[in-house]
Symmetry: C2
């Protein structure tokens, strides 16, 4: 499902070859797979998106940061010096993670008013592994969890791979509709169901770009308490706030009932695969057992690279530079949407993060439309991916963080053209 | 459970502090955990082994290679140059793994007479993640799998975390007793049970150091076919063969019914966390879905480091150097065992890999004995860890690959002293 994040260098023809060669294999191991394997989503659009690395295609489908904005000379020097004290970066590390990094993270978390010690933190392979481990330790087959509609496809996939029953609740300009959450929790309670957790991306959400208001955050923590469940807060984008200080993290509002997921993937590098979880002590213990089974420990090398990079980087200056870059890109994309999209198309106006969420007229299907878009040399992620129940078919996620800045306008122009053709086709058929 | 592999720098006092502070936390989230969390094993000896990094303790407990044997200058240079073509090592990669590495691996596998293409390979975070993913896609709660007795603790933990019912079958000097496997399979068949797979470490096994004979390998692939199950072959140590060409991998004998797990952790570096799986195409597809949910992709940086290191390294020369080092260490350990262990103690004589497996008289319990050993400033892994059913209490695993070579003899001497005292204590109580 997630291949589109950075698809391999595959040509369209190779993709076709792979597909047909796969069809040749009869799956004689069918009787051996676990039930959960059934619930691992495969993407209908995976092969299509695999071609989006072709240089002639403008990929608005990714979710990666603009790593060229980093100080690459500094990074190269750090890499070259990382073994100056011996081969420790090549050895196993502890399952909870490299201690100096966990110590540094306590300061990073203090900047968000989250008080924690190194012993509250587990290092993970990006926050995706945090989601996987959370799924593993909390979700029995059929268990209910609550999430935003839409929500991060990688989280949905991680939870679905443990056969979660995901109830997604709609959002508006102030984020998750808390009244609807309250109703759902009450309904579930009547049926004797306690959701395992409520999963939210409160700031500059993936994919909507939206942010949950402070008032709603406060209501949410009360609700979670009242209904005896946890909050899992995914804060991948919070520090990339374009206008003002980002809102308080939910963890700050109720430290003892929130599992906080953080990552360096958006503010430094996703290729290093370093994220972290801050969790109440007994939950953290379970996460460590699950981490040990998962891969023993995260890379000693990449953990040291992150630690060394930030040891000599002023975080405020670093973020300010990134934010300046992303504001320009966001503006370029919003201006292009304004300029090119036909009437009847709506889109969000994010105040941080990487994404614009576009809603087309209900009669359009962005999954079907993708092939035509790729033909016109532009790609996006169909909205359906961000819903566990297959809704969202008339939506799509556009990314402005990763591609060449000069391509944003042209990418939206091509996409708008495809949308316009689809709308016309619909109108002509209707007549 | 796995912390002992490379325990954090924790003092005995810190450990005590952590234990008591953990006791202060009442686990109010108990009602939210999944059933599988119950089956994740925690180690009674974890805290004890956490102290083994203290410089005064000779740790025979690890499982790490001697990374000082690597060409560290070359590694530093490669790290410093890894971004010479831009920030790609910092970006997301594809879920199946870095293509040039998979291409290189086809040659590495060809050296083992395994014919495969890059499209048969998934890169994993060490082979531990391969084990986790295999557990995830094959094991329903209560499903049966077959493994060697003893078997790798990390594999047992990965499978147990998916609530596997692990049947371990005894081994002798020729490895897994195939007749017993056949009996077990027949018994299971009568009860209508098909094991999900048979997990084996055929060469220089962890923890026993033993090797399965070619005749038994051939019988095993036939049995797996006959009983409609798969073989999962863990080949972490195969290339570290001290005396002759290693035996054919099981994958070679029946390519279509074996999932092969490989890793760079033992022949290069465990801190990079790069391993791989070679699997039949439909299984590989499932593994990729599971990998996407698990962490999207392995580190782009570390995959490139491995690729670059071996691009300029002759594998034969590289392995010859490592093997020379480990032979000396193995000999030191075997000589020390001979010199110091009292009558009634038996140990294996490995012809490759990292471990000696020691069997004490049946009345001794190596889990209980560990505290005394640590007091005498030596550590090992109690045998119980390598059995899912809690047997193996009179055994222990000793490692000779990682610590200072000059410490091996002294380590075994201290350990033998503890064993002798325990034996004397038993005899005096018996009188």
């Amino acid at each position: 499902m997630m291949l589109y994040i950075n698809a391999p260098q595959t040509t369209g023809e190779q993709v076709k070859d792979q597909q047909s060669s796969q069809e040749l294999f009869f799956d004689k191991w069918q009787h051996l797979y676990s039930d959960r394997t059934e619930s691992m989503r495969s993407s209908e659009v995976r092969d299509l998106l695999a071609v989006t690395e072709r240089p002639d295609i403008i990929a608005l489908a990714g979710g990666a940061p603009y790593t060229k904005a980093l100080n690459l000379d500094k990074m190269s020097r750090i890499l070259g010096e990382i073994m100056k004290d011996g081969p420790a970066p090549l050895n196993y590390g502890s399952s909870e993670g490299y201690e100096p990094l966990r110590v540094w993270l306590t300061k990073f978390m203090a900047d968000e008013d989250v008080a924690c010690t190194p012993d509250d933190i587990v290092i993970t392979d990006g926050s995706q592994q945090g989601l996987e481990l959370v799924g593993k330790i909390f979700v029995n087959p059929g268990d209910t969890i609550i999430a935003e509609a839409p929500s991060y496809v990688g989280a949905l996939n991680a939870f679905l791979s443990y056969q979660a029953n995901i109830i997604q609740i709609e959002c508006d300009d102030n984020g998750l509709k808390i009244d609807k959450v309250a109703e759902e929790l009450e309904q579930l309670k009547k049926r004797g169901i306690t959701p395992r957790f409520i999963y939210v991306i409160p700031s500059f959400q993936n994919p909507s770009g939206g942010t949950m208001s402070l008032a709603r955050r406060k209501k949410l923590v009360k609700l979670a308490r009242a209904y005896n469940t946890l909050i899992v807060e995914d804060n991948a984008y919070r520090r990339l706030s374009f206008e003002e200080e980002p809102l308080a993290s939910i963890k700050t509002l109720d430290p003892d009932n929130v599992v906080y997921l953080g990552t360096f993937s958006k503010i430094l590098s996703p290729g290093l695969r370093v994220g972290w979880v801050v969790a109440p002590r007994p939950i953290r213990e379970k996460l460590i057992f699950a981490k040990q089974a998962a891969d023993l420990c995260s890379s000693s090398l990449t953990q040291r690279v992150v630690t060394a990079y930030f040891a000599e980087t002023d975080m405020k200056t670093h973020l300010k530079k990134l934010i300046g870059i992303y504001i320009k890109r966001r503006d370029k994309m919003l201006n292009a949407c304004e300029e090119y999209f036909p009437r009847g198309v709506k889109w969000t106006k994010p105040k941080g993060g990487f994404f614009v969420w576009v809603t087309l007229p209900e009669y359009l299907d962005t999954t079907n439309m993708l092939a035509k878009a790729v033909e016109q040399k532009v790609a996006y992620v169909p909205g359906k991916a961000f819903f566990a129940d297959g809704t969202g078919r008339n939506c799509m996620r556009l990314n402005y963080s990763f591609m060449k800045e000069s391509d944003i306008r042209e990418g939206v122009r091509r996409l708008a053209e495809v949308v316009e053709q689809e709308m016309e086709l619909y109108r002509s058929l209707k007549l």
